[in-house]
């Protein structure tokens, strides 16, 4: 019996040991406070500024020991944030509004990407250059309700009868669905990522951006926090994080390679050429159009228009409650009290 029990006991010990390993080690944190950020997706060029800030020691100088974590899938970051497993999550403006509609007390505290990245994409000789050409075509989406709503809005604006357009859920295999000609176009692929990737592979993607097709503009990627975490201590940490992140993005603008180096350090499986090209394409939308505004600025009027659009399309049901965004933790925003949305 002992011969059988001993390996079993050892194994249990081993399993217990594996569990323990995940606890954040206290050894590294002396004066710095730990701060966990969950990305919206696996590390990629959209996060180059954050990795640049991390690599150049901006977070450390801000007294933060930042841990950057990739999520299992894009639906999870807000759930983990709500469960208190992370301090800050990167998500999408529509996802945040949906979560709030479900009762989550979450708030956007800064925009990582100012514009929609979601786009209507088609390939080569089957290119769709104008939304009117969608009539009678098959469009692949990732099966998200707001993507279907984008498509409806686009078709309405273009005067196309929606019943002539077939929408197919192809999951996250949007590019593959186009390459295999299973669909005529896709709605959901990012112009700065899949678009750039296909461009670099000479597949001649035709890209139409949401805000040019009648969908109200929005911040594709936002930093989201729990409102309950924003007490004095939490607010101080968040402010320092966003300041350091802004500096990381300025460093990225000066020298994109710095961000890409840090990114490849985090995941060696990424392709350097692609990531550099994506950073180049994305740089203009990392910063607000209006130079007067700080990094991360969210336009309350744009948010309101987008929220109205979601409500009109039946995506959210609850009447507008407390503001879904605040700019008060952004660098230098103390000087501009008019933009505060927290309250």
């Amino acid at each position: 019996m002992t011969r059988l029990l001993l390996p079993l006991a050892l194994l249990l010990l081993l399993l217990a040991g594996c569990g323990e390993k995940e606890e954040p080690s206290a050894a590294g944190a002396r004066d710095t406070e730990s701060f966990t950020v969950m990305l919206d997706y696996f590390p990629n060029a959209d996060h180059a500024g954050i990795y640049a800030a991390q690599a150049s020691g901006e977070y450390e100088r801000a007294g933060l020991d930042v841990e950057i974590q990739a999520p299992p899938d894009a639906a999870v970051p807000l759930k983990l944030l709500q469960a208190g497993r992370v301090d800050l999550a990167i998500s999408y403006e529509p996802e945040l509004l949906l979560a709030r509609d479900q009762g989550a007390d979450l708030i956007a505290v800064g925009a990582l990407v100012q514009k929609p990245l979601t786009s209507l994409m088609s390939l080569g000789d089957r290119a769709i250059e104008r939304p009117e050409q969608l009539a009678g075509k098959r469009v692949g989406t990732s099966g998200l309700a707001y993507q279907s709503a984008y498509l409806r809005t686009i078709l309405e604006q273009a005067g196309v009868d929606p019943s002539t357009v077939k929408e197919t859920n192809v999951g996250f295999k949007l590019t593959q669905a186009m390459l295999s000609k299973q669909v005529d176009a896709t709605l959901g692929a990012f112009w700065n990522y899949e678009g750039v990737d296909l461009e670099r592979r000479d597949r001649d993607p035709e890209i139409l951006r949401m805000e040019d097709l009648g969908v109200p503009t929005y911040n594709e990627l936002v930093f989201v926090a729990r409102r309950g975490d924003l007490d004095e201590v939490g607010a101080s940490r968040l402010r320092r994080f966003l300041q350091a992140t802004a500096r990381g993005h300025e460093a990225l603008e000066r020298r994109p390679a710095a961000g890409v180096d840090a990114l490849l350090e985090a995941d060696g499986g990424l392709d350097r050429g692609l990531q550099e090209a994506v950073v180049d394409a994305t740089l203009p939308v990392f910063f607000p159009e209006d130079d007067e505004r700080p990094f991360g600025y969210q336009d309350p009027a744009e948010w309101a228009a987008y929220e109205d659009w979601m409500r009109e399309n039946g995506l959210i049901k609850r009447p507008a409650g407390r503001a879904p965004l605040t700019n008060e933790f952004l660098p230098g925003e103390g000087l501009d009290p008019g933009t505060s949305g927290l309250g």
Binding site: L11, L15, G19, L179, G269, L270
Partner: protein, 248 residues
């Protein structure tokens, strides 16, 4: 020999299909392109292979320990049998893609959820085969031991367990072949290394050849594990009489 020939013909056909433009190589790379990715990305894939192998080995060990314990408990106690049988069968009915994200949410992104999911996939074949093996003991031998006044424990140790070895190995070999599935789903639900992770990253940037190379390594891992246990079986349970299929 014929098997190798069939594989070669299939590979040649595949190569021709892609080379002659039948299929976009971003969707399906040619075998030579996969081979090329295997070589050029070796520094990238080797650590991932090591990670996944480790996950699979630990999970398999956990499944063998737990499956063995449950099978023996079910064999010696009818109460345990009644209590555990639905659970054992239920463990096989759990769709891994559904449960993997939940397990990861609870256990985090470390090694623990990978081990648990591999063990979950492997548990059923291990437990059920050992249990059947224990039950199938030669009744005459059992009668003999009883007439010699052997205790229940002695019967188990001297007769039933050794007799169940071939059947147990069948279960373990099946488990070894499917273990990688558990590891891949676990890695897809949250990880920063391993072949499943490599697959995800490669797919995300249309590095299809590398994705196929990672898949090939998973296949190889399963085959090697199976082979290792088959070898071990021959050493440990080589004495068992076995009829050769197709023989006289």
């Amino acid at each position: 020999m014929t098997a190798a020939l069939i594989v070669l013909v299939l590979l040649a056909g595949w190569e021709a299909l892609v080379r002659l433009g039948g299929i976009d190589d971003l969707l399906l790379p040619a075998p030579t392109q996969v081979l090329d990715a295997l070589w050029t990305d070796r520094d990238l894939l080797a650590p991932d292979l090591a990670v996944t192998t480790w996950e699979v080995l630990l999970g398999l060990a956990a499944a063998i320990a737990a499956g063995g314990a449950v099978a023996i408990a079910m064999h010696v106690s009818s109460e345990a049998r009644r209590a555990l049988r639905p659970l054992v069968i239920g463990s096989q009915a759990v769709p891994v893609p559904v449960i993997a994200p939940l397990v990861v949410l609870v256990l985090g992104f470390g090694l623990a959820p990978k081990i648990l999911l591999v063990a979950l996939v492997c548990f059923f074949p291990v437990a059920i085969n050992l249990y059947d093996g224990l039950r199938d003991t030669d009744p005459d031998a059992r009668k003999l031991l009883r007439s010699l006044d052997a205790s229940r424990w002695q019967t188990l140790r001297m007769l039933e367990l050794p007799g169940a070895l071939p059947s147990a190995f069948t279960g373990i070999k099946i488990a070894a072949a499917v273990a990688v599935i558990g590891a891949v789903f676990a890695e897809w639900s949250g990880s920063d290394s391993g072949l499943g992770h490599a697959l995800l990253i490669a797919n995300g940037q249309l590095a299809t050849a590398r994705a196929f190379a990672a898949t090939f390594l998973l296949f190889l891992l399963a085959v090697c594990l199976y082979g290792a246990f088959a070898l071990l079986e021959r050493r440990v349970a080589g004495w068992t009489p076995r009829s050769t299929p197709g023989g006289p």
